[in-house]
Amino acid sequence: MSDNFPKAESADIVLLLEGTFPYISGGVSTWVNQLMRGMPEYRFAAVFLGSRPEDYGAVKYEFPENLVHLETHYLFSQTDMPPIETPRRNPGTSRCLHDIHASLRDPNTSSLPDRLRNIDFFFDPKNGIPQEEFLYGLDSWEYITEMYQTRCTDPSFVDYFWTVRNMHSPIWKLARIAKNLIPGRVYHSVSTGYAGTLGSLLHWHTKRPLILSEHGIYTKERRIDLFNATWVADRRSRLERDPSEISYLRELWIAFFESVGRMCYDASDTIISLFPEAQARQFDDGAKPERCSIIPNGVSIAPFAALHGQRQDDLSAPVLCLLGRVTPIKDIKTFIRSMRAVVNAIPKAVGWIVGPEEEDPDYVAECRSLVDSLDLNQHIQFMGFQRTTDILPQVHLLVLSSISEGLPLVLLEGFAAGVPAVCTDVGACRRLIFGEGDDTYGAAGDIAGIADPKALGVAAVALLRDPERWRNAQRAAIDRVERFYTDTLMFSRYRALYQQAHEASDLPIAPKT
């Protein structure tokens, strides 16, 4: 499956990617691609972590030449499980399980317990816990049942058991990946979560620097996933169920991702966020301020600036566009509802939904039927994945209705192409629309609350009906992005970071090929 990917003996920078490049097209993947292309002097390796092979389609990106090594691993694939056999019982195992969990549960420790830092822990049946022990061992079984009896408030044992199994199994896979990975001078993880855990393991195993770049806030996004997830069994009966209280198993997942996040912060030498609010959240989640810094995303200005000439800014028949994957996190439904208000005010307005639709087919179907029921078939088009350079010259207003965002690349691209935007108040959107500090270019659009279609519609209509204000917003958008959010600025900051990390790394420089 991965055999025609580039392979190398070593690399300068090893990127740890979870569910993004090269299989999923989206903001982070694009950013990864951009980063590698922007720094041709470094040889990159990339480790893709996915759930199961069948969850991904074809590779979505052409590989940059300096991507010298790519491997893919599937954490929830069950094809490579060790043979089912009760392992030999080891007197220390039970004690070891208790100690490790006690230290992981202690709210005061944010660090990976010492004995887990040695990667052999995950393979050595004598002094550690190998995967066979976790999966088939009698001591593991006893420990799981003991924890269920003392801690779990959800009665269903089978659900508890599978939650524990699913939560833990990837760890041994990550340890195996870390053990077999080609040497790299610097590890760079693009999220916490599983990729971040791999980064921590690699950092402790090799003693080499780990850089963490967070585009969203992983734990927050998992929290949103988990709240929406119907797959986390909640078998409480209707009477038992208190809507304000989430099920124990959901809590378990959240706690897991949070503690994994803390350990990743602890292992990282440098922690990058995109904007100050995100950084504040990292502080809250346990990141040490002295290791944190901010590097906003940047876009290549030229290709978008070149589009300015193609624009026909006739606001009597405006095109409103939402650029993004059709998924609940982008809250496409709010955009559709807001279009109702827009069309009521400006009958010639049209809405485009531009983005891949394969991730959550059920949600796509729901969106389409919402369009039907709001009688917007004449006004809303699902256009699938498109090149932004083809789309943007025809668009008059970008709309972003997400319930969670980082620093959205599409907004920067839209700005560079001269398209103002109306966004929900998430991530760095407010900052991008209104500017901050020494940025006095003015408003590049407007902001509305989350899940408030009416406000979103009103803001869009107000902007589109006032050509003077719209033109000012366009000017502000172009000026802001060209001054603060260019790729050259971003590259120069990462270059400095890589340089510094390389100096700290003990791996001798590999001969360039």
Partner: protein
């Protein structure tokens, strides 16, 4: 920012894992019941013909021929019995009812076809000095019996007990009555009557399948595809049947204990009759076994797996486990109790019965030890049955291999030790297998939840 969190939802599919565990593959074990009926039918037909056919040794020729046919076809079809029954119950679990009939037809074609080639070759080259009609009837019967066993075991697995019993009663009733009419035609006449009875039995059993599992497709060989049948079940089906017959075969082919009867077939006058009579004593044990296992044990068993699947609490799961353990233990001890009683009764009235049937009292010691052995065989069936329910197929393979190996070796030794040791090979091999089985069962029962959860197969 994608992450892989959102794909986690596809993971919780634990229902598949537990689904397959409940499959009724133990059926072949109970399938031993019908062959007791068969032996009885044949012995009865023989006894009733004794003074009506000439020369008198035709009766023993008939009995020996049929005994070989039953033994041979049971061992030969044993390979398929359990594995195919499991295949069928898996299909039913997956709601693929329409695959049952075509695959059964496929199996019958494969098993009966190869059975005919095997028996045809054997009668062609090994049965010198016997008539062509006799040879033809022998090969036809061998392949017919193979078909009968396969369907019987499958229907037992699917719990069509009543249909099986009716078909057997009709089949053997016809064989008996037609046999009495055809006595003047001697050996061939009796065999033909037997053939007719078996044919009706076969058709009757097949009719049950056609009625219960209709299908548009007529013939399929899906069961032969890789991974469709469990190799472990192929093995234990064979070893179980081979184990049951090992001691008899040893005695048939040891010159000091046997006589040539017809063609290459030999019988052991001293060994055969006591052991076949002893098998009569297992009827009460079999009844208790069926009752206990199919009621108490299965109740708890179902509740246990329901609790596992439907999200019961661990303490509830453990209670059901305990119920299962208790009912399994009670079941096995009840079998032991009732078999002990049956053994005592057999010891007391045995001599009288033997005298009534005109059999020499020299057989008494052998008869007694055979009664003990036959009783232990019921206990072994009970143990194997519970292992099948727990899906501990490896245990079953080992137990049947041990039983087969010991029965073969110890029986050979007993033929050398002399008259007073005859029958001990059979009984001791069963005693050892039962003890090992009980130890394993005790160990496994303590770990049922562990095995159910931790050692369940990955579905790929």
């Amino acid at each position: 920012m994608a992450g892989i969190g959102f794909e986690l939802r596809k993971l919780l599919r634990h229902d598949d894992y537990f689904g397959l565990i409940r499959a009724y593959s133990y059926a072949g074990i109970i399938g031993a019941g019908p062959w007791v009926i068969s032996i009885l039918g044949v012995v009865l037909l023989g006894i009733l013909s004794t003074n009506h056919v000439f020369p008198p040794n035709l009766v023993s020729q008939f009995e020996t021929s049929v005994t070989y046919l039953i033994a041979g076809s049971l061992i030969f079809s044993g390979i398929w019995q359990l594995a195919f029954t499991r295949y069928v119950s898996d299909r039913l679990f997956a709601r693929e009812h329409d695959l049952v009939l075509p695959n059964l037809n496929g199996l019958l074609v494969a098993a009966m076809g190869s059975g005919f080639v095997l028996s045809g070759t054997a009668t062609l080259f090994l049965f010198e000095g016997t008539g062509a009609l006799y040879r033809l009837l022998m090969s036809a019967l061998f392949c017919l019996l193979t078909g009968v066993w396969v369907i019987t075991v499958m229907l037992t697995g699917l719990k069509h007990y009543r249909a099986i019993i009716s078909a057997f009663v009709v089949g053997y009733g016809v064989a008996l009555s037609v046999g009495l009419l055809l006595r003047p035609f001697g050996l061939v006449g009796l065999l033909f009557a037997f053939f007719l009875g078996q044919f009706l039995l076969f058709v009757g059993l097949l009719a049950v399948i056609y009625r219960s599992y209709p299908s548009r497709q007529f013939l399929a060989f899906d069961f032969l595809k890789r991974g469709q049948m469990y190799a472990s079940l192929l093995a234990c089906g064979f070893f179980y049947n081979a184990g049951i017959w090992a001691d008899k075969i040893v005695f048939w082919f040891t010159p000091q204990t046997s006589q040539a009867v017809i063609g290459p077939l030999r019988a052991s006058a001293i060994y055969d009759l006591p052991i076949f009579l002893a098998y009569l004593s297992i009827i009460p044990g079999m009844a208790v076994f069926l009752m206990r296992v199919e009621t108490d044990f299965v109740d708890y068993y179902d509740q246990f797996y329901d609790a596992v699947r439907e999200g019961g609490s661990l303490s509830h799961i453990r209670n059901m486990r305990n119920g299962m353990v208790t009912s399994a233990k009670t079941g096995i001890f009840d079998i032991i109790k009732i078999q002990s009683l049956a053994t005592i009764v057999a010891f007391v009235i045995g001599p009288a019965v033997l005298r009534f049937l005109g059999i020499s009292l020299l057989y008494i010691p052998l008869f007694k030890i055979d009664v003990v052995g036959a009783g232990l065989q019921v206990v072994l069936m009970g143990i194997l049955n519970i292992f099948f329910y727990l899906d501990r197929r490896a245990r079953v393979v080992w137990l049947t291999v041990i039983f087969f190996g010991l029965n073969l070796v110890l029986s050979i030794i007993s033929t050398h030790l002399g008259l007073y040791f005859y029958g001990f090979g059979f009984s001791i091999s069963l005693l050892v297998s039962v003890l090992i089985g009980l130890v394993w069962l005790d160990k496994d029962m303590e770990r049922v939840e562990y095995q159910t959860f931790m050692l369940q197969p990955w579905s790929h």
